[in-house]
Assembly symmetry: none
Homo-oligomer: 162 residues x 2
DNA sequence: CTGTCTATCATTAGCGC
DNA sequence: TGCGCTAATGATAGACA
């Protein structure tokens, strides 16, 4: 019954693989939790296994979204440095889209506050993680903005006509 | 010199914390690599530490982006299943907030499309359930809208001046 | 299929360079 | 600061319930 050294290769036996996965997964999470406590770092992990119907998101959906959004929002220099994906996954798409918004935001002070706050709401918080407060804020801003624009257009029109 | 049980709390000594982090980080990555080899799962991790200038992205940027995008793009069913509003409070609040936007939308045809699509995005999907596609759409609409408004203002201003 | 047990391997804290 | 070393804790494969 001497324990053998573990063979580091794919486990072909299905139930053995499941068991190993289950046990090691918990071990891994424990370790991860430990390093986070000991060193106060910000981290997250996502795992898709063939066994669980849903992805395992560690340490929580909330934290994962926070970390992902931080990762996505890194400075342009840092972003460029790690643009390794030629096909254009998520990050590039986000970058591209956000560049347009940022550009417009800089160009147009009229809408600065609205765009900025929406930007913060959408990206600062992470995806799928909007609170009621955020939505409220966004809605108010949209309303305000629509009203202001309307007033300004009316003003200009009046000046033009009279 | 008996080794003590490790106290699972934040290590206040700076260099000790760095050392522990470095060692445990490599241990964690090894374990993660092992479970991936043994069980053939798809996973990624992102860590922000105060020590490394850049985030540690495991196992690679490419894999991380792939996994993140898979996570973000899960089917609506899967997303819905996981994002439950336990209080039942969300929908009411949303309705109330959205009414304001709808009102403005009706008042102001200039911004109809943008508001409508945002309305759909926010209301139709529910909170915290936005996909990357939605965000993209919303961002595009904001950009477009800002551009159009700007052009219209410029046009009116030109007409006024000349 | 999941949990418990335990002998064994694996990780790592503390120390000295 | 970051190695190498080593003893002690920690993780876990395999057996069993």
């Amino acid at each position: 019954m001497t324990r053998e050294k573990v063979n580091l290769a794919y486990i072909s036996n299905d139930s053995a693989r499941r068991t190993t996965f289950r046990i090691r997964k918990s071990g891994l999470m424990k370790k991860a939790q430990e390093i986070m406590t000991l060193c106060e770092i910000e981290a997250c992990a996502i795992m898709f296994s063939a066994y669980d119907p849903e992805p395992i998101v560690w340490p929580s959906e909330l934290q994962a979204q926070h970390v992902i959004s931080r990762y996505m929002n890194m400075s342009p220099l840092e972003q460029t440095k790690r643009l390794v994906d030629p096909k254009g996954f998520t990050r590039q798409m986000l970058e591209k889209t956000m560049k347009k918004v940022t550009k417009k935001r800089k160009e147009n002070n009229e809408h600065n506050q609205m765009t900025q706050v929406m930007y913060q709401c959408l990206y600062g918080r992470g995806f799928g993680n909007l609170t009621i407060g955020d939505l409220n804020k966004m809605s108010d801003l949209i309303s305000q903005n629509l009203g202001e624009t309307e007033r300004r257009l009316e003003f200009l029109q009046r000046r033009h006509n009279g």
